[in-house]
């Protein structure tokens, strides 16, 4: 099987990789580029652990072929913090203890970032529906929702 040569932007950096025609973006990120922050949960688009932002849209990277990323811009959880400074969402997840085992957390952070990029002042209901495709078996979601709403409020007051 011949490999495809893909050029794309990952977390703002131009990158190149080789992939098989049926390789997922999730696999290319983790195995090709060593960006293991993005997790594999179900592999069928149900759990959201593999969430990344591709061309301003939240996607499940297990249901994207790596070859589709040619010329695209991809943001993974590794691209959320500014250097050593955590993103307000990341800080809020820590402050609210919005995680236990942590495997779902990168997906939740990326999904929440995509929400706040589009809707800086979401209602609780909006947060819950937006995150319906991200599963967490530890927290019961309340702390996650609180963290997202808290981070949104902090980011708004920082803007003001």
């Amino acid at each position: 099987m011949s490999k495809l040569h893909i050029e794309t932007l990952v977390n703002g950096e131009p990158v190149e990789f080789l992939c098989a025609p049926d390789e997922t973006l999730l696999s290319a990120l983790r195995n090709g580029l060593g960006l293991t922050g993005t997790k594999e949960g179900c592999g069928t688009g149900d759990c959201g652990a593999c969430s990344v932002i591709m061309n301003d849209r939240l996607v499940a990277s297990c249901l994207v072929l790596a070859a589709e990323a040619q010329g695209a811009s991809v943001t993974t959880v590794e691209g959320i913090a500014q250097g050593e400074a955590l993103h307000p969402l990341q800080q809020a997840f820590l402050d609210e203890a919005a995680l236990q085992c942590g495997i779902c957390t990168p997906g939740f952070i990326v999904a929440s970032k995509a929400l706040l990029d589009m809707h800086p002042d979401p209602s609780e209901q909006q947060v819950r529906y937006w995150l319906a495709g991200n599963l967490c078996r530890c927290t019961g979601y309340d702390k996650i929702v609180r963290a997202v709403l808290g981070a949104a409020a902090k980011m708004r007051s920082a803007q003001a």
């Binding site: 049926d22 849209r57 939240l58 499940a60 297990c62 072929l65 589709e68």
Partner: protein, 288 residues
């Protein structure tokens, strides 16, 4: 056997030429069904043909007579389009029920139609709005009413070498509106046990002058139910007309028993949904 090729044609002609020479190829739009089926070993195409770089498949074009939605346009773009939101609130309801945010970023009307699930959320809404599938092949283009597109679960009338390019929705006449609902056992992220879409047109006095009713997940394909529509036409959509339409929808249903619900339950529920969405569509039509 792994899929050996990935191609991303830039034009419809280029895509048609490829699928003609490679009949085992699969069209890849959002991948939300195809890649799940691939990972599960259910489908093993010889090649993936990514159609998202073909402009006709990725744009929403509104004109005086209606809107043409490219077959690969993701649900999120459809739900955000001003003309679509104004003219077909029920279609917006339907696409916003397909999977999660992540799925709606990718899943398309073309994929929903070509995957041909009897429970596909967008299909009933397309049918009641007289949507037409625009299909390209080596002999040119043909147009197929959406109610005829799926022929059985997972089967469509697309011939080998044909490509679904777009879905055309004619602009609704004044005082027309649609609505869509489905039943699932929880509030998000599930597949319909039964579903119904209704579009009604009212005259100035609130009498229904035309209607279309479609039901999903209760037969091998989504069904247009003329008897249910006939029950609505000529009425002011009061309780009696809605009940007659509900009974007609239940009578038209040919459901199966499966893990999502027994046939008798589905038959009852599809009537209830028909009644509810007809009332919602009527309330919206008065405001249009």
């Amino acid at each position: 056997m792994h899929t050996q090729r990935f191609v991303a044609p830039l034009t419809v002609v280029e895509a048609l030429r490829f699928i003609e020479t490679e009949p085992g190829a699969a069209i890849l739009a959002g991948g939300t069904d195809l890649l799940v089926q691939y990972q599960g070993g259910i489908r093993r195409p010889t090649a993936f043909v990514d159609v998202k770089r073909i402009p006709e498949l990725m744009r929403i074009a509104a004109d005086a007579d209606g809107v043409t939605i490219g077959a690969g346009v993701p649900a999120a773009d459809i739900a955000a389009h001003p003309a679509v939101r104004t003219w077909w609130p029920g279609l917006v309801e339907a696409v916003c029920l397909i999977g999660s945010t992540q799925i709606q970023s990718r899943g398309s009307l073309g994929g929903n139609l070509c995957n041909a699930s009897p429970a596909a959320d967008s299909t009933c809404s397309l049918i009641v709005n007289k949507a037409v599938a625009i299909v390209a092949g080596s002999n040119g283009e043909r147009q197929v009413p959406v109610e005829h597109f799926a022929t059985a679960p997972g089967k469509t009338l697309l011939q080998p070498g044909e490509l679904l390019v777009a879905i055309r929705l004619p602009k609704p006449v004044a005082h027309t509106a649609d609505a869509y609902q489905r039943l699932i056992p929880r509030s998000e992220m599930d597949i319909a046990v039964a579903s119904a879409a209704v579009s009604v047109t009212l005259d100035a006095s609130g009498v229904c002058t035309s209607a279309r009713v479609a039901i999903g997940a209760v037969a091998p394909t989504a069904l247009l139910v003329p008897d249910a529509a006939d029950a609505l036409v000529g009425s002011v959509l009061g309780a009696a007309a809605l009940s007659t339409a509900a009974a007609a929808a239940s009578a038209a249903a040919r459901p199966i028993d499966d893990k999502r619900g027994p046939a008798a339950y589905r038959r009852t529920v599809v009537g209830v949904l028909t009644k509810r969405v007809a009332a919602i569509a009527a309330a919206r039509a008065k405001e249009q």
